[in-house]
Subunit: 188 residues, 2 copies
Amino acid sequence: MQTNKTRVSPTLPARERILLTAHELFYRDGIRATGIDRVIAESGVTKVTFYRHFPSKNDLICEFLEFRHRRWIEWFVDALQRHGENLNALLPALSEWFNDGSFRGCAFINSVGELGAVLPEVVEISRRHKLEMMEAIARLLPPSRHRAVDAQAVAMAIDGAIIRAQFDQSPEPALHVLNRLLKALLAK
Amino acid sequence: MQTNKTRVSPTLPARERILLTAHELFYRDGIRATGIDRVIAESGVTKVTFYRHFPSKNDLICEFLEFRHRRWIEWFVDALQRHGENLNALLPALSEWFNDGSFRGCAFINSVGELGAVLPEVVEISRRHKLEMMEAIARLLPPSRHRAVDAQAVAMAIDGAIIRAQFDQSPEPALHVLNRLLKALLAK
DNA sequence: GCCGATGTAGACAATTCTGTCTACATCGCC
DNA sequence: GGCGATGTAGACAGAATTGTCTACATCGGC
């Protein structure tokens, strides 16, 4: 009898199961708050299997961030495209994310806050993540002398909105205020 | 012979010493990363003294956030006043903060990311903090119909800038991009 | 047919964490 | 004078942490 609380498909290879489980727990509860034993139990593997794939928790943390990065950017680019591939796509795209029940802010902002001082790789991966987010935003802007700086301004406003959405009960104020900020930025 | 690594003045009452030490360690290294034993050792008190003042680590965490809140707002209001008490004061004020060697982002953003899912008081205190920050910003704006929303937009931009300054090596890009964002917001 | 990669089961070690306990000292204030 | 608040020193308990170890099973590909 298996009484595992496995939440991921047991047909997936062990490595995928571990990564998916870590992704859910790390993002939801925080990284330090999540013990390795918990990840092992919920992904339905054994300790040996786990440690064969991830020599230490720090390795898992880095792989979790890389995994999250690929996943998030893929969603972001797709959402922007679905909503018209211009600046007006930003709000509906972010609205999707903020309204998702599992939204708990930006995994990279959270991780840098939690581990940045102690695990430099976390900062490095997160910086790369924000850079790629900014590049995706830049592609929405018409080529011009200010494109790079404008994209940075939009990215900064979005980070502020992520924080706001994370703090508030509802994502509406964050989206509303972000809209005002974007409008002001475009009307220059 | 006292070999304590006490970093706070030993003449202060025990409670102050604990709070100052916790403030430094929690902000610098993260909350979960900092053990109670470490706080006790570096504040130069004993376990009994510590637990008489703070029944549990969670109590200390909340008191740390309240302490940080009072301290930060006091500094912020003062800095805004010193720099002219108008919107142009924001940049030089934040520049002071970002350039401080101990800057490691916003303690409330970091704490919500780390503990928000598991300690609701943290979110509550942090929300209050952001509200008071926003009110201080609102007082820089001329009374108008949009004052509240404008203050929220400025606060959101500032949160984005805090993140950016925390991620980057240097605070310059964060300040520069924030400047652009504020200029756009005012020129409406 | 064999080898290496991947998988399972669970005991065990070493450390660290929070929090409790006993026993005693000092100081301000009613 | 006595009491309560505040302080010191350090042993101890109980739980949780990360990571190691032995022993065995399965399966695909060379």
